[in-house]
């Protein structure tokens, strides 16, 4: 499974921090992340991409440390965007970076500290990561990553009933997508007069959105590697 973008989403969900300064705060988050070896979850998967018209699906999400992730729609088909984040935050947190304090802000009405991570390697795919951390509950509520190829992606995490295990109830990920076109001679479309891709300009980048609502988690049950093939 190469869905690094989702890997990233889930990595974010482990982030919690106690430290006062930026570096310590991030290190704390990494330490928390270490506690989760694997999990299996049922989730509602909602896709909002201009060229995809898909119904909400119930999917199974499998995660295994350090970077394995698999989303399976056991009852049907889901088209899962991949590589919208080409560098995992996990790799970033395990590599050399500089953590800078970016001040404070409000996310979901909660005061947060902004921490900016700059990779030490100048050639890294990730250019900049910005974390919005709820320092009271020690949770990452939002993260923005800027990569060389995919532009800026954003993830927002909502916590609730799964807070005791340190995992989010809901994640909203937004990213850049490109337009999709097939020749009419291939599809023989029926023109039913419905306006297509409202506001979209062909060839221009548009924003896509994925929303995952977790229904349950089974943490550290020892998942087999074969699940991720």
């Amino acid at each position: 499974m190469k869905s690094k973008y989702l890997f990233s989403i889930l990595i974010f969900s482990f982030l919690g921090a106690y430290a006062q300064d930026a570096t310590t705060l991030v290190k704390g988050i990494r330490a928390n992340l270490e506690k989760i070896n694997d999990y299996e979850a049922d989730a509602k998967f909602k896709t909002e991409i201009s060229f995809l018209k898909v119904p909400d699906a119930v999917v199974k999400i499998y995660y295994k440390k350090p970077d394995k992730i698999k989303i399976k729609n056991q009852n049907g088909i889901s088209l899962v965007p991949k590589e919208t984040v080409s560098i995992s935050l996990y790799s970033l947190l395990n590599s050399h970076y500089t953590a800078l304090d970016g001040g404070t802000d409000l996310v979901q009405g909660i005061p947060v500290r902004i921490i900016k991570l700059l990779p030490a390697d100048e050639n890294a795919e990730l250019v900049l990561a910005t974390l919005y951390i709820d320092t009271k509950r020690l949770l990452v509520l939002k993260a923005k990553t800027t990569t060389r190829e995919s532009g800026t992606n954003e993830v927002e995490l909502f916590y609730g009933k799964f807070l005791p295990v340190g995992l989010p109830d809901r994640i909203i990920f937004s990213f850049n997508t490109e337009d999709f076109k097939l020749p009419k001679g291939v599809t023989f479309d029926y023109d039913d007069g419905t306006a297509k891709n409202k506001g979209a300009e062909p060839g221009k980048n548009q924003r896509g959105r994925i929303e995952i609502t977790y229904l349950n988690y089974a943490v550290n049950k020892g998942l087999s590697d074969s699940l991720f093939k």
Binding site: M1, K2, S3, K46, T47, E48, I49, S50, F51, L52, K53, V54, P55, D56, I71, N73, N75, G76, I77, S78, L79, V80, P81, K82, E83, T84, T177, E178, D179, F180, K181, L182, P183, K184, G185, V186, T187, F188, D189, Y190, D191, D192, G193, T194, K196, N197, R209, E211
Partner: protein
């Protein structure tokens, strides 16, 4: 009327050429099924284009019976008019050629009644051909490929319909296809009145369908508003409308919905008007016709 219809059905279904269509459909469907069984992924890659770089595409799940049936319909509903024309174009001209037209037209039945019976028999043939197509393209595909959600490739979007939301759409699509192909039958039927040999009406019908289809598919602004909305071939594709779902404000498609039911209704109405027009013209011309064959 029932008596005449029975006679016309007997004539159609005792004629060897009728079964060419059933055989041809079976052959074409089986060829497509075999091709997809062995190389379905290439076709899906072709349909999804560059998206495989940005999306995780579950090829084995996509290649299921529902999807295969959709591909078959997409490919064949362009060609089936030929098979419909084969029988509808023969209905009057074939009898003229065989010399039986003068016999039946000198029987104590009205020419209008005779034409209606012939046309109804053609509709029954068309419907049976589609039931046969449904049987082998849907049931056999399900047996070979199983079922799953269906991926619909539109020219600017990919659409997924859940498997438990598919079957009724197929029923509606096949019903609509019967209407669409009845329009072709009505055209062939009309042309059949003017010929004493079935080759002419068959070839003319196919030529008209091809030219109209090209006009329907060409994206030329001049034609888009002037000609296209009135071409029956533009509306024959409306069976696909049953596979387009509505989306909610969040962009998710809604199971059990149709994107634009009014458009399908309008297309149906236009096709019905075409059928009425063609058949009325055929009846009028046949009533005026001097039978010299």
């Amino acid at each position: 009327m029932w008596q005449l219809l029975q006679i016309e059905l007997l004539k159609i279904f005792r004629k060897p050429r009728t079964y060419i269509s059933f055989g041809a459909i079976a052959a074409m469907v089986i060829i497509i099924q075999i091709a997809l069984k062995f190389d379905g992924q290439s076709y899906i890659e072709f349909l999804t284009g560059s998206l495989k770089d940005s999306l995780e595409i579950p090829y084995t799940n996509i290649l299921n019976g529902y999807f295969v049936c959709f591909i078959i319909l997409n490919l064949l509903l362009i060609h089936i008019p030929l098979l419909i024309a084969l029988v509808a174009g023969d209905s009057i001209a074939g009898e003229a050629n065989m010399g039986t037209l003068r016999l039946i037209a000198s029987k104590p039945v009205s020419r209008t009644g005779l034409m209606l019976a012939k046309f109804m028999a053609t509709i029954i043939y068309t419907a049976l051909l589609l039931i046969w197509l449904a049987f082998i393209s849907l049931l056999i595909s399900i047996l070979i490929f199983g079922t799953n959600d269906i991926l619909i490739a539109r020219n600017d979007a990919l659409e997924i319909i859940q498997r438990n939301d598919v079957l009724w759409r197929y029923m509606a699509a096949f019903a609509f296809a019967t209407l669409a192909l009845t329009t072709v039958a009505a055209l062939a039927f009309l042309l059949s009145v003017f010929a004493d040999n079935s080759v002419g009406p068959i070839v003319s019908t196919i030529s008209i369908v091809i030219v109209f289809t090209i006009l329907s598919e060409m994206q030329i602004p001049l034609y888009d508003r002037t000609i296209k909305p009135f071409l029956f071939t533009s509306h024959m594709l409306a069976w696909k409308g049953f596979f387009y779902s509505k989306v909610d404000s969040g962009g998710s498609s809604l199971p059990g919905t149709i994107e634009n039911i009014r458009a399908i209704g309008k297309s149906s109405l236009i096709l019905v008007l075409y059928i009425i027009g063609f058949v009325s013209a055929a009846i009028y011309a046949f009533n005026k016709k001097d039978i010299l064959s």
